[in-house]
Every structure is written in C-alpha cells, then in structure tokens.
C-alpha cells in the first residue's frame, strides 16, 4: 500500500502588492469584474473606477460567518449549527490623507466634499449613507499575468478617518470597507466574490 502525495499549495500563495479600487461596476449574476490585461479594472466596463492609492502594508481581506450551535441535553457536542450573520470586509491603511476625493469616499454618511478656487474641503456632519463597489486586485504568484480579485459589491468604510501629522512618521488612515448585501441578488452571491483568473 502506498502513501498519499502531499500538496503543499505553495503555488497558490499570495505574495506581492495589489491595488484597491472603488466605484466599480456591479457584475451581473454569474459574472465577475471585468479586468484589463494589466489587472486594472477595464475602463469601458468600469467607467467610474477610482484607485484608492498606496497602502501602508497592503490589504486584509476577510469574510466570516457567525454561527449558532444547537445542543441536546444528552450530548455534549453541538448537534446542529446555522449561520446567523455574515461579515466581509477589506481593510487597509491608506496614505492619501490629503486627497479630498479619497476622503469623501471614506467619510460616507458624514463627510461632504466641496471645492472652489483656492481650496478643497470635507465638512463633517451627518448625511445620507452611500456605498461603493470595491475590490482588491493582486497578481497571482504562480502566474503574474493572472490576477486574483476580492470584490465586495456594496461596501462602506466604517473606520472613519484617523491619522496624524508628524515629522518622523508618515500618515496613514485606517479603512475598513464592510460589505452589505444586495438582498435581491441570488442568495449565494449577495455580498461579493473572490476569484482568480485561470488559464
């Protein structure tokens, strides 16, 4: 009897910088974000795409269920479980803390952009929430001409703005784009999608 060959999955590793894009088009059922060959959002399919710029240390991509387990008195282990909530997000720290267009995107629900000759500003005060379609796109290590995409269809930064100004430390503001469901999409595809290009 022979052993079983291990698969170390090292070809599937993620290592290398990606790009964060917002204001992307929403893909239809069964479809994905349309990419250009260089891995950026294809501009005709994504006419409003907005690059969020450089980050302190890349992006963190998260999707997580909250489960409730069920027990019977006679058995100590749970006998059933259901998902009671889902959370998905893209988190990063962004360098562009004086880019007012970027800051407007980050201050959904409380930031209002205005500009005129000589100034640009974000004023703070509550207003209607707005969402954005956001994705982190990065080249795969196994083939740098192919890209992986973590796309949240409807998301909002819930981290606000939080940055300093100092001589010896460059400023970054943390962002956490939390996903919300487009509840009328197919149940299996309401939040977003993680996919990669394949040969």
């Amino acid at each position: 009897m022979a052993g079983t060959a291990p698969n170390w999955r090292v070809a599937a590793r993620a290592l290398g910088e990606g790009q964060l894009w917002a204001n992307l088009a929403i893909p239809g059922a069964g479809a994905r974000l349309t990419l250009h060959t260089d891995g950026t959002p294809e501009s005709v399919a994504n006419p409003n795409a907005f690059h969020l710029g450089a980050t302190k240390s890349g992006a963190k991509l998260m999707v997580k269920p909250t489960r409730q387990d069920f027990f019977v008195d006679e058995i100590t282990a749970p006998v059933d479980t259901i998902i009671t909530a889902m959370e998905s997000a893209i988190a990063a720290e962004l360098v562009g803390v004086t880019d007012m267009d970027l800051l407007e995107l980050l201050t959904s629900g409380f930031g209002t952009l205005s500009s005129a000759s000589g100034y640009e500003e974000i004023s703070f005060g509550t207003k209607a929430d707005t969402f954005t379609s956001i994705a982190h796109i990065f080249p795969t290590r196994e083939d740098p001409t192919k890209f992986a995409v973590w796309h949240l269809y409807k998301a909002m930064n819930d981290a606000g703005l939080d940055f300093g100004s100092a001589k010896k430390e460059m400023s970054f503001t943390p962002v956490n784009f939390k996903s919300y469901a487009i509840s009328t999409r197919a149940a299996v595809d309401q939040y977003g999608k993680y996919w990669k290009q394949a040969a």
Binding site: A22, P27, G28, A31, H36, E42, V44, L105, I182
Partner: protein
C-alpha cells in the same frame, strides 16, 4: 460591452424617470439585484459585458424600447472583443 450607466441612459432617453426604469429593467435581466441610489454618486454602473449574449441583447432591446424603437436591437458588442483591450 460598455457598462450601463444612469448618466448614459439619461442622455439616450432624455428623461430621468425613463432612464431609471430602463436601468431597473436591465438590472433585473442581468441578475444584478434591485440596486438603489444609495451608492456614491447615485446608481452604480452595471457591467453588462459579463452577461450572456442573449442577456446583453435583451438589455439593448430595453434601451431601444425605451427610446420608442420597436425593432429589436440588431447588434451587440461581443464581450470577448472588449475585455482585455487597451484603455
């Protein structure tokens, strides 16, 4: 295929309510979901290029019908021709 945007629909149809109605119909055809205006800058673009050719054709028909053109749209840009092209 070019994304469907509410701005383009307004230009094509000349009326916001007609544009919104066409947008909603196309969103239903493509399984985008009932997307509201709660996105930044209003309704987001719909990437119809990823849809099947039949659904793309139906989306174009919706626009033609909204413009009062009863004949069916005759052509579609093939998504494979547009994807991966240069900017």
């Amino acid at each position: 295929m070019k994304a469907v945007t509410i701005e383009d629909l307004k230009k094509e149809l000349g009326d916001e309510s007609a544009a919104r109605a066409a947008y909603a119909k196309i969103a239903r055809i493509g399984g985008f979901g009932d997307i509201g205006s709660e996105f930044k800058d209003g309704l987001p673009a719909l990437d119809v290029g990823g849809l099947s050719e039949a659904k793309q054709k139906r989306a174009l028909e919706v626009i033609s019908e909204a413009k009062g053109e009863p004949e069916k749209a005759k052509t579609t840009d093939k998504p494979a021709d547009k994807k991966q092209e240069g900017k």
